[in-house]
Symmetry: C2
Subunit: 162 residues, 2 copies
DNA sequence: GGAGTGATACTCGGATATCTGGTGTCCGAGTTTTCGCGG
DNA sequence: CCGCGAAAACTCGGACACCAGATATCCGAGTATCACTCC
């Protein structure tokens, strides 16, 4: 079980986009350059974020992407749902309805106990992700990120925003 | 993000194995027949359970598989780890160490805040699975499974064990 | 009748194909900017 | 000097290859059983 690597890219990009002035944008090319990742593939994921109303895209020169909502209104769960899909990891294939001791389909109105247990775990996971907003992640940058890197990032931003 | 379908098969098989008398076994062929799933592929997953000391395998005629521990000592997390692997779904690729504003590798002793957030969610998920034992699942069978199916299962077991 | 022995049938176990989904890349549609020209 | 217009350059967006891991299968190694033979 592996989550798409695009989730990690997306969260880092959102964090960077949150640090630029209002109404300014960064193109997919710039975002990819900053993180050292392939631009074309990153674009694919950014489009998914646009579809879920997490980012806004501006076409043309001086265009690019910017946050569509306040950082407090963007949770990690939103990003995971947009990139990796909303379907749970465990999917009940109803094998209890197969085999020699199965009954008719009408006898299985109650959910399978095994599927329910995994649904609980999934809910706990989603709950944890839902409680972590982009704002929370940004708030802990000053204490967790090396000040020198913060300086370099700010300088890079100043240069490309020119 | 999708978990291996073998996890579902495994839990169902473990539940069935828990219901047979001590020192009796069921072969992979029988287990597959009961659940209506391909036997050869099921064998692959059962072998993984043997490797993690959840099942014991007996070779030869009248051989098969049986639980290696008490049902209270087998959690859903044990099964997931055995079948799907112990690696977390989110894997930090350390993209913070890449790009134009990165520093030397020695400056990243603290874990990435984003990875930490996902690690928390993963811990919540694992905690939920760890708290659900095979014994718990079996305990709720009488109230959740149609009595007719319980009858048919018992009859099938009696036949193949005969 | 009982014990020994060989063949047998059934089991697990690992090595081998196939296939879906994620990964990565490319080219086209659209829009804003910008440069040049004319008034 | 100012307004207009066309070309250009840069952007996003979706369509097209590639690759890894899961899915599915098969054949070989090993062992308890069973039948047969011999004592």
């Amino acid at each position: 079980m592996k989550m798409s690597g695009g989730v990690e890219w997306s969260v880092h990009c959102l964090s960077l986009l949150a640090s630029l002035p209002p109404d300014r944008t960064l193109s997919a090319k710039r975002l990819a350059e900053f993180h050292g990742i392939p631009a074309a593939y990153l674009t694919k994921h950014l489009q998914a974020l646009v579809r879920d109303n997490i980012l806004e895209s501006i076409p043309g020169p001086r265009g690019g992407f910017r946050l569509s909502r306040a950082t407090e209104q963007i949770t990690l769960l939103d990003v995971v749902d947009a990139i990796d899909g909303k379907r749970p990891a465990f999917r009940c294939s109803e094998i209890r309805q197969r085999g020699p001791s199965a009954l008719g389909s009408k006898c299985y109105r109650r959910p399978c106990g095994i599927a329910a247990a995994f649904a609980n775990a999934d809910a706990a996971w989603r709950g944890s992700l839902m409680n972590c907003t982009l704002s929370d992640l940004i708030a802990e940058i000053p204490e967790k990120v090396d000040p020198r890197q913060q300086k370099k990032s700010a300088a890079w931003l100043k240069k490309v925003l020119g």
